[in-house]
Symmetry: C4
Subunit: 218 residues, 4 copies
C-alpha cells in the first residue's frame, strides 16, 4: 500500500548526514534538543529497507558523521559504530504506517509543559490558526489538528505498538506527543519534517501561553 519514497532513496548517506547535523545545530539554538534529548532519522531506501539514524546518547547540537548509523527494518545495525537511538523502534513504527522520508523527535519546554498541563487528556486539539497550513495537506486555518498524547515509557517496544495503533486509528495526524517528553513528527523529506517541527512548536508555544494566561486558563 505504501509506495517506496523515491525522493529520499537517492540521497546519499553523506548528504543526509550533513543535513541532519545542520538540523541538530538549528534545533539546539532553539532549545528543542537540550542535553542529549531528541533523535532524527532519514529513510535511505525502503526496499531493501535502510534507515539513517542518530546514535544513542549524543548531543544533537554537536553531531558528527560518526554519530550516525544505518539500520534495517528490525533495528538491526547495517553500518556504523555505537548504539542506534533507543527510540529507533518508534521511528520504524512510523515508517511502517506513513509514506515518510524523515522523522524528527524534539523535546521542547512548551511540548513538555503542555502535555504536563493536560495530564488527564489523551491528546491536544489545535484549531483555527493560520500556522496549521504549514502542515502537509492542510489548506485552511479552519483545520482541526488532533495530536495524540501517549504516556511516556522506557519500554520502547510497547511505545512502538501504541504508535502503530495511533497511526492506524488517526490517518490524518502529523505528529504524536509523549507526555512530559516531546514530539515525533515526520515529512516526505527533511525539509518537510523540519517545517512540521517549526509549525507545531510555534503552535505549542501559542497554546502554552494562552493556557498560562490567568483569564483564559482551562
Amino acid at each position: 500500500m505504501i509506495a517506496p519514497t523515491k525522493c529520499q532513496t537517492s540521497e546519499s548517506i553523506t548528504t543526509s548526514t550533513a543535513a541532519l547535523i545542520a538540523v541538530g545545530k538549528e534545533f539546539y539554538q532553539r532549545n528543542w534538543v537540550l542535553g542529549t534529548s531528541g533523535n532524527f532519522s532519514v529513510l535511505l531506501n525502503r526496499d531493501p529497507f535502510e534507515l539513517l539514524v542518530t546514535e544513542s546518547g549524543v548531543h544533537k547540537g554537536r553531531l558528527a558523521p560518526q554519530n550516525f548509523l544505518t539500520v534495517d527494518s528490525t533495528a538491526g545495525v547495517i553500518s556504523g559504530a555505537g548504539k542506534p537511538s533507543a527510540e529507533t523502534l518508534i521511528h520504524l513504527s512510523i515508517l511502517a504506517h506513513r509514506d515518510a522520508g524523515c522523522i524528527l523527535h524534539t523535546h521542547s519546554v512548551w511540548s513538555t509543559f503542555l502535555t504536563d498541563l493536560h495530564s488527564e487528556s489523551d491528546g491536544l486539539e489545535i484549531e483555527g490558526y493560520e500556522m496549521l497550513k504549514g502542515l502537509s495537506n492542510v489548506s485552511t486555518h479552519e483545520h482541526s489538528e488532533w495530536i495524540p498524547i501517549v504516556a511516556n515509557s522506557q519500554n520502547y517496544y510497547d511505545l512502538s505498538l501504541q504508535t502503530n495503533e495511533i497511526l492506524n486509528a488517526n490517518p490524518g495526524i502529523h505528529a504524536i506527543l509523549l507526555r512530559r517528553h516531546g514530539m515525533y513528527t515526520w515529512g516526505k523529506d527533511i525539509l518537510e519534517a523540519m517545517r512540521h517541527v517549526e509549525v507545531l512548536e510555534f503552535l505549542f508555544e501559542v497554546m502554552g501561553r494562552k493556557q498560562s494566561c490567568a483569564g483564559n486558563s482551562r
Copy 2:
C-alpha cells in the same frame, strides 16, 4: 493622489532581493516567520507598476534569489518562476492606498496570541509607550495607535477588499492584524518597514505579557 515612490524605483531587483533575503534570516532567528509563514514585497516601480514579491510556500529563513518573482498591479507574473505568495492581493491593496515601498508580513507568537485573546474585538489600541515613536510620523509616546484586526480567511480577494476598506477608513494606521495569523506592516523602504515590524512586535510582546499577568488580565 499618491505620488510615485521615488527612493525605491531605482533600487534594482538584485539589491532588493538581497535585502529581503537578509530580512528573512533575521526574522527567522526572531521566530517571526516559522514554517513557511510570512511574505515580503518591494515596489520596484509604480508606473509601470512592478512589485518584487516572495514565492508562495517557501521558507523565509532560507530564501534564495530564485524564490522571488515580479508581478504587475493585477498580480500577473512579469518575471520569475513559481507562484507568487497567495497573499499578494493584500500587498497590492496596501500599495493602492499607501505611498509605501516595502510590505512585510510576519507571523509571530505574540500577534497570534493577542488576536486570539481579543477574539471579539475588531482591533487593538496601543497607547502611551515610547516605542510608538518608532512608527513613521509619530512624535510622542502619548500617541494612540489603532491596529485593526481582520478575521482570517483563505479568500484573499475578500481580504484585499476588507484591506481597502480599512485603509480608507483609518488613514493613520501603520499595520493590520489578521486574527490568529499575523501582521501586515509597510514603510517607504525596507528599513522603515523592518523598523515598523520591530516596533510593533515589541509592543505585542509587552501587551501580551501584560494581559497574561494575573493582576492585569482583561
Copy 3:
C-alpha cells in the same frame, strides 16, 4: 568635586566607536534596542568636555562610524554629521552628577512591562538577589537597590532637570527608569556600563516573571 575620568579620556574616538557598535549588535540580539530605540555615549574628555554620542533615529543593531557625533557640555556638536540623540541632555545630566565614562540607554520588554505594571509608583526596589553584586560597589546580595521611575516626556530639558534632582537625592543608585520607555545606566567605562545593563535587565526579567505569577502578583 568630580574628578576627570582618566581611563576613558585616553580612549580614542575610533576605539570607543568600535566598542559601541559591538554593544549595539549584542543588545539588538538581546531585544534591548529594537526599532530605533536606545542611545549610547562615551565621555572622551571631561576638560575640555567632549562626549561621543549616537546619532538620533538610527538603528542600534546596525551602527556605522558615521552614526556617531561628539558634543560639548551644552550638547553643541563638535564633530560629526546628523543630529545627536534627542536624549543627549539626559546623558549630560548624568555626567554632571556622576564620575561616569559611559552611559547606556536600553529599551527592553521587561523594563517597559515593569514600569507599566507599577504605574503608580515612583520607583522599584530590588533586594536580596546575588545578581545585585554585579553593580559597582555592591558587595552583598542583601543590598537593596532603589531604581527611580520617572514619568516619560518628550521634553528632554525637563527630563534632564528631573534627572539632576534624582541623582542629587539618591547618591547610591545605578540606574533610572523612564516609565513605558526604558532604562539609563552608567559605568566608569563601557564594560562596567554593559555589566550594569546585563545585571539590571536580568533582575527586571526575574521581577517581571515573579509579578506575572498568579500566586505572587502584587
Copy 4:
C-alpha cells in the same frame, strides 16, 4: 574512597581553558552567566591536587586564557594572576565529596525565579520528566530528583561547610541551588557537566512556567 579522575587529569590546561571559554560563550548566549555571574572549574589532577578555575569578577561570555588560575586543595594559587573565583571553596567542597572532573555554576532567570518562589522550602523535587534521563545514572523518567536549596550567603567558608553536609546527606543528587543566586552542578568531565546544566535549566524553565500558570500555581 574517591578514585582519581582519570579522564580529566590528562587534559592539559590549554585544552581545558579553551573548552571553558567555549562553555562561557554558549552559556552567555543562553543568559545563564550575565554580568559577571557564574564560575567554572576543571580538575586537572587529583593527586597532587590541581584545579583550573575562573578568575573572580570577569565576564564569562568573554573569557580569555589569562582569566584562569590553578589552585591547590586549600584554594592556594599555584599559577595565574588575579584572584580565583570567590566561590572556589564550594568547588573544592564538591570535589572532596564527588568523583567529578568539572564543576559549572550558572545563574539563570528561572533558577533565581524558582528558588525565590519556593522561599520557604529547602529543596525542589523534580519527577516524571524524560529530560531527567540526561542526568548521569538516571535511566527512567520515573526518577525523582531532589535539588537542595541553600540560603545564599557571602560567607563562602560557611557555604562550603553546608555543601559538605548536603553532599554527605544526599548521595544521589546532581546539583545544589543557592537561593536567588543560581545552580552548582558537576560531571565526570566538561561535557557531562554541560549536559547537566542543560538538563536542569530546561527543567527549571518547565517548572517555572508550570508554577507561573494560574491553574497550577502552588
